[in-house]
């Protein structure tokens, strides 16, 4: 409220309401929801963005941030509810642009040519020069002194410059003027100075009547730039307030469940004196018989760290018959199941060395082992000869667990293995992991779900490809993990 003197306050309020009506929202969502099968990615969100707004959007993994972005930019149609662009028919007409975290440039084209791809009505023989001028102007505005040649191939630019080009294309006029620019982790590969230039530009852009939706794990940046912050959790808006009414701690608390557990973790805080079996340059360590969790926001280097560790200790053709590590994949279709094979073959591939005789597979032993694991891990099928795809996702995952646990490898690496697994199966698997760990096996467990990570003996939180915190039992709480996943310092 900008009411100064009480006497004219009603009038000012009236005036404010009037001007608010005149500046119609660029986009407004009414109870918009998006379901993917049974998964409710977004559950009834109402929101409107007006010219001059700078919205900070924060939330943990799977809170529905990306789904919300795709609904607003027209990439997805809502399952129910309504999305309206007053004064325009679709997102593109309304001047809605998005800049994504994973780069969406064509790496084989030059900077100017990439603008041509999103700008269809560029005609004439000298389009190349026109495009070059537009993109250079946009870059100059946002990142003064950038030094990017519009005729350079994207491939030849370092990642920070690619990100700058992508942002510049987002703000550049392309037929329609940019009115709402959605920036998804725009500063993830920019250094502090360049990020500051971007924040300055966002503030200016909003002051001039544009609107921005700013998604970032750097809370300092969100606080600096946003006029309003929206907190998403489990597909819904849990808090929406002007930035000034949030404190950093309050924001982190709003993102997480208010969990008062910690009893379970404390119970398992017994033996950490086993020998160290894993030690990486990054600082990741694991002892014998320990379940080590990897956490942090998705895509901050956890999966890459695990893959590197696994490949370095297994993909050697001279390594011999006793693997040091086995891998449980979370992305089942990509690096998990062998879709054409039966459950039996999918399970036994890791233990062929145990059941062979002179290079020939002992079918009976193979079958016996598989039946044993089917019983132990509780795979719901009447015959292990059934094709593996006849199982539900959760049971397929159990097959992958059985494959890993049946081997003799002392270290089990798990890359978000509970993706799409139902609660019952999860409980079964937790119990089995505990049992195996107590027998001296080491588990490295990357999970996007904080609740799972809280089951671990030790947790490494990743941020920007590096370990930002190492937590041990009394400290393994959702709050601590969130704190370490988000950048808490001032963005200056």
């Amino acid at each position: 409220m900008r009411a100064g003197k009480p006497a004219c306050a009603p009038f000012l309020e009236y005036e404010a309401r009037m001007s608010e009506q005149e500046s119609a929202p660029i986009v407004s969502l009414t109870d918009a929801a998006k379901h993917f099968g049974p998964v409710r990615a977004l559950d009834g969100v109402s929101l409107s963005v007006r010219p001059g707004d700078c919205l900070g959007l924060v939330g943990h993994n799977g809170a529905g941030k990306s789904t919300l972005v795709y609904l607003i930019n027209g990439g997805l149609a809502p399952s129910s509810g309504e999305i309206a662009f007053p004064g325009a028919t679709e997102a593109a007409d309304a001047g809605v642009r998005s800049v994504f975290q994973e780069l969406s440039l064509c790496p084989n084209l030059t900077v100017a040519e990439n603008l041509r791809v999103s700008l269809r009505d560029m005609k004439g023989a000298s389009w190349r020069r026109t495009a070059g001028d537009i993109i250079t102007k946009s870059l100059d505005q946002i990142f003064p002194g950038h030094g990017i040649d519009p005729n350079a191939e994207i491939d030849s630019l370092p990642i920070a410059e690619r990100q700058m080009v992508e942002i510049a294309i987002g703000f550049a006029p392309r037929g329609t003027k940019a009115r709402l620019v959605i920036l998804d982790e725009p500063t993830s590969s920019l250094d502090a100075g360049i990020a500051e230039q971007l924040l300055t530009h966002i503030k200016k852009f909003c002051a001039d009547g544009g609107a921005v939706i700013f998604i970032s794990h750097m809370l300092g940046e969100v606080f600096e730039v946003a006029s309003r912050i929206i907190v998403l959790k489990d597909g819904g808006i849990v808090a929406e307030r002007p930035t000034a009414e949030f404190t950093r701690r309050g924001l982190v608390e709003a993102m997480g469940h208010v969990a008062a557990e910690g009893t379970e973790a404390a119970a398992s805080a017994q033996r950490h004196t086993g020998e160290i079996v894993i030690q990486t340059e990054q600082g990741l360590t694991a002892r014998k018989g320990e379940i080590v969790g990897l956490s942090g926001l998705a895509g901050h280097g956890q999966a890459a760290a695990l893959a590197k560790l696994y490949l370095s200790s297994s993909s050697n053709w001279r390594a011999g018959h006793r693997p040091k590590c086995v891998f449980v994949a979370g992305d089942r279709p990509r690096d998990g199941v062998l879709p054409l094979w039966s459950i039996l073959f999918n399970m036994s591939i890791s233990l062929l060395r145990q059941v062979d005789a002179w290079g020939w597979i002992d079918r009976k032993a193979e079958r016996a082992k598989s039946e044993e694991w089917k019983r132990r891990i509780g795979i719901r099928t009447d015959d292990v000869e059934n094709p593996v795809l006849s199982l539900s996702g959760g049971n397929q995952q159990k097959v992958l667990f059985a494959r890993a646990l049946a081997s003799t490898a002392p270290v089990v690496i798990m890359d978000d293995p509970m993706r799409g697994v139902d609660v019952g199966t999860k409980q079964d698997v937790y119990a089995m992991l505990r049992e195996e760990a107590s027998k001296g096996r080491t588990f490295l467990w990357y999970s996007t779900e904080t609740e799972e990570v809280c089951q671990c003996d030790r947790v490494f939180v990743f941020r920007n490809g590096e370990i930002s915190a190492e937590l041990t039992p009394p400290n393994i709480t959702e709050e601590r993990i969130l704190e370490a996943s988000f950048h808490m310092q001032e963005a200056s």
Partner: protein, 309 residues
Amino acid sequence: MSFFSRHRILLPVISLAVLLAATFYMQPRAMSYFGLNLLFNLAVPIALATIAQMMIIMVNDIDLSVGAFVSLVACITATYLNDSPMIGILMLVALIVTYAAMGAVIDALELPAIVVTLGMSFVWGGLALFILPSPGGASPGWLRTLMTVKPPFMPMAVVASILIAIVTHLLIIRSGFGTVLRGVGGNSRALTRAGLSVTRLKAWAYGLAGLFGVLAGMALVGLTTAADANIALRYTLLSIAGVILGGGEFTGGKVSPTGAVIGALTLTLAASFLSFLRLSPDWQIGSQGAILILVLTARLIFSRKGAAT
């Protein structure tokens, strides 16, 4: 980035120059208007077929039917186009449209191009046999004249190659439309996000490939004056090799029309060079392969060095 990876066209040019120098050293009489024409005559249809293949590789696919397709076009050119031009032209246009449709189907149904084009190669081959069961036919007079024209200063083969390179460079590298087509190979999701139809763009790329395939078949008949259902089968592999030799990549939309033409010339020259070496024909195909591997290895080493620095 090393010098070579920044100027991708250099390596193909150097390969051709080295091979040309070696040929002239072996056979100085080749260094003449007539000699050059003989050396590069058959490069013109190969260059056109290579451009056709390049259009497909540009959108991250591969075409295993180029050879059979060019053979079919050659058979139509030597029969229908010669006897009743209207029907001949209609047939060739229909072939180009079929190619475009094939591209649209491959993208819309997410079929692997390698399988679809392999299947289509049998269709093209069957049609060619149907039209021309035994070698024969005749080249239309105008086509024969066009392919044997003697321009001043430079032989037809060289002029045609330069012309093909310029036209396709303007079309694919310089024009906005060609830029978008290359974008399909670079990052088709970016194009979808920008509101473009990748299916339509792929249809265009395949249609262009069909057009250049037709031109290749016609040029071939203009040179040989007759056709055969198997006349151009080896073009499939030659065209792929030509694109790669010319600095193109199998994925990522990185292609160079100029490089592709140079690649085709290099491959043609390699065959002649081996004849000049008096190598027994039994060894020639293998040696041609060896030259190919040599050039590609050189390229790989340079690009590795470029990536390392």
